[in-house]
Amino acid sequence: MKKWFLVPLFLLLAAVMVVTSCGGDETTPATTEPTTTEPTTTEPTPTETTPEPIVPTGTLTAVTSDFGFESTDPIFFESLWGWSWSDSLLRWDENNNFIPGVADSWDFDEATATWTFYIHEGIKFHNGEDLTAEDVKFSVDRFGADEPWVSFNPWSQFISYAYNKTDSIVVDDYTYQFVAAYPEACQQVVFAWTRILPKDYFEEVGQDGFRAFPIGSGPWKFVELIPKTSITLEANTEYWREDEIPYYEYYVELMVPEQATRVNMLRTGECDIALGIDYDRIEELTGDGFATINAGVAGTSSLSFQGTWFPNAGPTGDIRIRQAMSYALNRQEIADTWYAGFAKPGGQFYMVEGAFGWTDELTPDPYDPDLAMQLMEDAGYPDAFDDPIIHTYTTAAGQDYHLLLHSYWEAIGLQTSLEIVDSTISTAYIFHNFVGRIEETDDNVGWIFDWTYNSYFNSTYHCANMYTSKGIHSTGNDPTADDMYAAVTHTADINVADAAFAAFQLYVKTLYINIGVVEYEILTLYNPNTVGDWAGRNWVSYQDALNGIKHPGQ
């Protein structure tokens, strides 16, 4: 009678032992071959037969670690969801060419520095109202307004009155003009980011009402956002680009902070897509038959040196020490180990191979510890410096990566110190409390931070902050770089701007104020048994890829 009680205990113990000893042998979906889907182009191509109309069915469920800045207002750079239910004025293709958004075409009059956009007729917002030039003007003006939107949007300032905008005109219902102060081809980047909001609806419900229930003209309609829990979208079956109507009727994104839970939900079929999974787990799961796709531009990891021009910058004030730090890094080893092979040496700040302004001359520094040590000797390191210790800083989350980098520097004899700071302090250092540039008396003069983030198809405006003497990151302070940057932003010809940006990139690379480490893939993990081809605009962002995700076998 008493012994029966031991049975479940033994079973529990046995189960624990089996699980812990067989961790790698996990449930697999029916397809066991690892699958990596390459991004697919879906730009409209002329066809002779009329394609079958898309009828959305089923629910696509994704899990993510954090909603981050969970705003529904597309004015925010961080509100990537806004891409799903809004259309932008312009778009860009796989090769970084600007292509029509809600504007079918556009032209630029160099004499008057005026952009004229011809809006596609017949676009309707989700409430049935027409999208007109009034909505475009409203959206562009709001996007460039000098208001505290509390956004990290790096572009809005570039169409504000303070920068290069003198007027905003509705010519007729479907013609809109943006008058700049001077020709600037790169402003098309900002137009490609500006999403068109319904003016009347916005004014009727107010900003808070709009944020509570946003409306756009995009392929998805907003249904519900439960903060820090879930967001639900519904397919817009009336979407004006009929070939971009979503294949799924609903898209549900759940916030699941715990990675193990996200992975297990993917394994059990409780979700179809898992975002924010570590590379080692991706390797394991693709081995078990799950698939990945590159949705969005690849990421880069680079190191930035702050306030190097100040006399008290210490060793990093000497370019030879910064060069030595670059040559000391074995980038291939970092790519193979830290990034589990899903990365390669290289990458500039916010810039990956093939991006606007890219040139093949932007090669990563080789791993050359001997040269690094020679440079240190030439610089008289460590004796030439009062304080030879080189400081890097990061948050607790980034400490392991920094320790890896430090191990390379210590191997060539550099004395380093890793400062683990609170995320608030880290942000304050990187942006100098948002109120100006670094000052000589600040703690972080001469210190180094890493910038590991998704890149962008055109990083012109990001680079202003990293490389020019007005940049908020307090890393650039070189008049030649400022002049070269001005050349990029003061031309009406995008090809000239492209060439000027390449020249600028080659130049700023020689300054060693920001050194690229690796370019890594942004992988989205999914279950190929429940999710089919990704036939959307995968090169833009995950949110833009959503409406192109098909059902298996579709």
């Binding site: 031991l6 790096p154 297990n264």
Partner: protein, 307 residues
């Protein structure tokens, strides 16, 4: 007895004020939330405007006074990040936490009392050994590991139960089970040892000699006296319950108070962190007060001594 209760209530109020002071200053020492809220494009004027609107431009002393004044009126403030009243946020997440913690607490108490008493009665039997083994296992294994392993076994391998969410009764089994395993061992061991002490006492021997039925000896006379220590511990168990909820909610993606306080801490959302901490403190002090009263009720010696 009335004097005893009044004294204990006054002590609880003093403790609450102390906690309020500590919590208020500790969250502010952790950093300035403006660094997370502000934008790089923002001018100094805009920065100051937002700081002012959030009341962060005032001195800590002024902020503390506003905080105490508002709290006394039941106004817990507004979340700095989500721009929602904290009371609304608590109102949304508290029911979810209660759905998880109440059944976990009740079931674990029933189980721990039953198993603890049985282990004491059948001392050194297989039953007792099993209870001791379960207690050691439960105390040695970290709750997050148990939760992840439970998901792996019952959801991924056996496909019996869902991994995350709270929409069906099946969703409750793993999180509640994990919470039970978190609370059960300590209480079970305590009940067992307390019961063993009582069973060895003279008055129990006397009761048996007098021929009282064994059921009456155990459940009426022994258990009542063995309850004193475990009841005291129940009050102290409440913070652990909150801690267990934080972990369980995280693993099982349960949108409760635990998840909310974790996020608020990372986001430097002062009003949310302060409010949840204070709420937990009030609960703990309230339960402790209740336990003290029960304690006096169960053991008349205490009542008479303190009176």
């Amino acid at each position: 007895m009335t004097r005893f209760i009044i004294v204990r209530i006054l002590q609880a109020i003093v403790a609450l004020i102390g906690i309020a002071v500590i919590v208020f200053f500790l969250v502010r020492v952790s950093g300035d939330p403006m660094a997370l809220i502000a934008s790089p494009n923002m001018s100094e004027e805009q920065y100051q405007k937002i700081k002012e609107s959030l009341g962060l431009d005032k001195s800590w002393g002024e902020q503390f006074w506003i905080y105490i004044k508002d709290m006394a009126r039941g106004d817990l403030g507004e979340s700095l990040i989500r721009e929602k009243p904290v009371t609304t946020m608590i109102g949304e997440s508290m029911p979810n936490t209660l759905k998880l913690t109440v059944p976990s607490f009740v079931l674990s108490m029933i189980l721990s009392f039953f198993l603890g008493v049985m282990a004491a009665i059948y001392r050194d039997s297989f039953w007792d050994q099993g209870v001791k083994f379960l207690a050691v296992l439960g105390q040695a294994l970290p709750v997050f590991w148990v939760a992840i392993m439970a998901v792996l076994i019952f959801s991924v391998y056996l496909e019996w139960l869902p991994v995350a969410g709270m929409s069906t009764p099946a969703h409750y089994i793993l999180p509640v089970g994990t919470m039970i395993l978190f609370m059960l061992p300590g209480m079970m061991r305590l009940v067992r040892s307390s019961m063993l002490d009582v069973l060895d006492s003279e008055y129990i021997k006397m009761a048996r000699i007098k021929g009282l039925p064994e059921r009456s000896v155990i459940w009426k006379h022994a258990l009542r006296n063995a309850l004193i220590t475990p009841l005291t511990i129940i009050g102290m168990l409440l913070p652990s319950l909150v801690l267990g909820a934080v972990i369980s909610e995280q693993i099982f993606n349960w949108p409760g108070m635990g998840t909310m306080i974790l996020q608020a801490t990372f986001e430097r959302d002062f009003p949310v962190v302060q409010s949840i901490t204070m709420l937990t403190a009030i609960l703990v002090l309230g339960i402790n007060l209740l336990v003290d009263i029960l304690y006096a009720y169960i053991d008349p010696q205490i009542r008479y001594q303190r009176a």
